[in-house]
């Protein structure tokens, strides 16, 4: 399999299948804490998947809840609802501040000798609605149908909402994602979006048989148009935990 980009992804993962081994002596890195945005949608399913891998995951409903988390999952749900609530509760600005590249102007706790690791940008994974929210652009932005869709705009993606039609067109498929798993990964698409265009910094991780991209990564940001949290296969959750600690 050809691993493109992200060369060092496999660090500390030689033992293969063992989910998120508790770091022993050679790797002093603390286990990551994953926040799961819990405004609305399938957040409990993500938390259960991370728990199954031995990782700590907690609900995030306010900007204060973002403190102490190393990563954030924006789950499936209704993108207009989640987008509006993000803005209403000030989470959009809080997430932008935490994902900005130079370490955020963290509180001047000012005890210089702090042994804390330098704050790194928040790793974020958006599934389905989360993919829409992370994109910079909507393919249907010219449409007058529906309420305005607030976007975080963190990834160089143009996406199309409800790209497959109505609920009757929701589907399950097995996808090849060689950087993520050495087997076909079961994927559930529910009123799903699709990536129409991706910038040069975006690495496509999986495509539909017709070639359309449905999983992608840009640095510490990951998106999937489908729902790994509705399947028994934790490959994408494990991949995200690796991405967080990489």
């Amino acid at each position: 399999m050809s691993v493109t980009g992200v060369g060092q992804r496999v660090v500390g993962r030689d033992a293969g299948d063992d989910p998120v081994a508790v770091p022993t002596s050679p790797s002093p890195r603390p286990a990551p804490v994953v926040g799961v945005l819990a405004l609305q949608g399938a957040f409990a399913e993500h938390i259960a998947m991370f728990a199954g891998l031995g990782a700590e995951a907690r609900e995030v409903r306010t900007p204060e809840d973002l403190e102490g988390v190393d990563a954030l999952v924006i789950p499936g749900g209704e993108s207009t609802t989640i987008g509006k609530l993000l803005v209403r509760f000030g989470l959009d600005e809080a997430i932008r501040a935490r994902t900005a590249d130079p370490a955020p102007a963290a509180e001047p706790a000012a005890d210089g000798a702090s042994s804390e690791p330098a704050a790194r940008p928040l790793a974020v994974w958006g599934t389905c609605a989360g993919l829409i929210l992370l994109a910079r652009d909507l393919g249907d932005s010219g449409s007058t149908v529906g309420a305005p869709q607030p976007l975080l705009g963190l990834m160089d993606l143009r996406v199309r909402r409800n790209a497959f039609g109505t609920q009757l067109d929701s589907f399950e498929a097995n996808l090849l994602a060689p950087d993520v798993a050495d087997h076909p990964v079961p994927a559930v698409f529910i009123r799903a979006p699709v990536i129409e265009d991706a910038g040069p910094e975006v690495e496509v991780l999986a495509r539909l048989p017709d070639g359309r991209p449905v999983a992608a990564r840009q640095g510490r940001l990951l998106v999937t148009a489908f729902h790994p949290e509705l399947t028994p296969d934790p490959s994408f959750h494990r991949y995200f935990l690796d991405l967080v600690t990489a």
């Binding site: 399999m1 819990a38 405004l39 609305q40 949608g41 399938a42 957040f43 409990a44 399913e45 409903r61 499936g76 749900g77 209704e78 207009t80 609802t81 509006k84 609530l85 209403r88 389905c128 609605a129 149908v145 529906g146 309420a147 869709q149 909402r161 409800n162 039609g165 109505t166 609920q167 009757l168 067109d169 929701s170 589907f171 399950e172 498929a173 097995n174 996808l175 090849l176 060689p178 087997h183 076909p184 559930v188 698409f189 529910i190 009123r191 495509r207 048989p209 017709d210 070639g211 729902h227 509705l230 399947t231």
Partner: protein, 308 residues
């Protein structure tokens, strides 16, 4: 299947499958923590979406008007459903009468995202519900207790809502039915395995589902609460009691200020464990819908008793 891109070849990657159980029950999972609002016009649908609804229920009359006007309540006009579908991007649900499989077929043909086989409409069949497994569209059904919920799931419902008493603006029946369901689940969890068959008999529910509920401590599908929610505090109440989301029927568009009330109920549903936020959401909403004392309703006017 003709792959036109150089994806690695793997025979185990098969053709996509639509309308699987996972996609049907999965859409309800995406609606969790949200508010599904009854709307009777495209304009109301837009207001609901703007307020933060996760889906709308398209119908001709809200339950309080059905109650007031009487007569036979049927599936809505397809033109209305289509107009509402075209007005919003969130999922659109619509109601079919209990047992009216052709109304359900029509709704599927219209491309609604969920069919509600609903006691709010006048039943078309006084003994049998629709075989919902036979449809590609997913169904939500009402239930007053665990047995009724598991019968509907056995027939293929991919989402359950506790019934409450629609169109009353009175949350007491919603609470009663929700507690019946969650309490029924807790009781099953305490039973030794040899008692589960008799429990299934007494519940009037499929044995396999009874065993599964006893083992997992939850329904195999998402559980929402409906029928009488009129305020942000009502919504937070039923969420604290174990609902995974709420349906609000007459409560929004029969109130003084639907957009503010809609937003407030959405916020209270998200922050249901945070009294300060529920308090903030409850300020200045204007008049709630007028309510009815359910205990004073004649038995013949109760909607929740419809369902077999």
């Amino acid at each position: 299947m003709t792959a036109t891109v150089p994806t690695p070849v793997d025979a185990s990657v098969d053709a996509p499958q639509t309308s699987t159980w996972t996609t049907k029950a999965g859409l309800a999972r995406m609606l969790k923590g949200g508010v599904i609002m009854d709307v009777v016009t495209p304009e109301q649908a837009r207001i609901a979406e703007e307020a933060g609804a996760t889906a709308v229920m398209a119908l001709e009359r809200v339950p309080s008007d059905i109650r007031a006007e009487g007569g036979v309540a049927r599936m809505s006009d397809p033109d209305l459903i289509t107009a509402i579908k075209e007005a919003v991007t969130i999922p659109v649900m619509a109601k079919a009468r209990i047992g009216h499989l052709v109304e359900a077929q029509v709704l599927e043909a219209l491309g609604v995202d969920y069919v509600d086989e609903s006691e709010v409409l006048t039943p078309a069949d006084d003994r049998y519900h629709i075989d919902k497994h036979a449809f590609r569209v997913p169904f939500v059904c009402g239930a007053r207790d665990l047995g009724e919920a598991l019968r509907r799931i056995g027939e293929g419902a991919a989402m359950i809502r506790s019934k409450g008493e629609a169109g009353t603006g009175n949350v007491v029946e919603a609470v009663r039915h929700l507690r019946e369901i969650t309490g029924g689940i807790r009781r099953l969890q305490t039973l030794p395995r040899e008692e589960l068959m008799t429990a299934a008999k007494e519940l009037g529910a499929p044995y396999g589902d009874v065993v599964r509920v006893a083992e997992t401590g939850s329904l195999p599908v998402v559980l929402f609460c409906a029928g009488g929610i009129a305020t942000p505090a009502d919504a937070a109440l039923v969420m604290q009691l174990g609902a995974e989301g709420v349906f609000v029927g007459s409560g929004i568009f029969k109130s003084g200020d639907p957009i503010r009330r809609g937003r407030a109920i959405v916020e209270a549903t998200t922050h249901f464990r945070d009294p300060e936020r529920v308090a903030a959401a409850s300020r200045g909403l204007g008049a709630a819908m007028p309510g009815l004392d359910v205990a004073k309703l004649p038995a013949a006017e109760l909607l929740a008793t419809r369902g077999w």
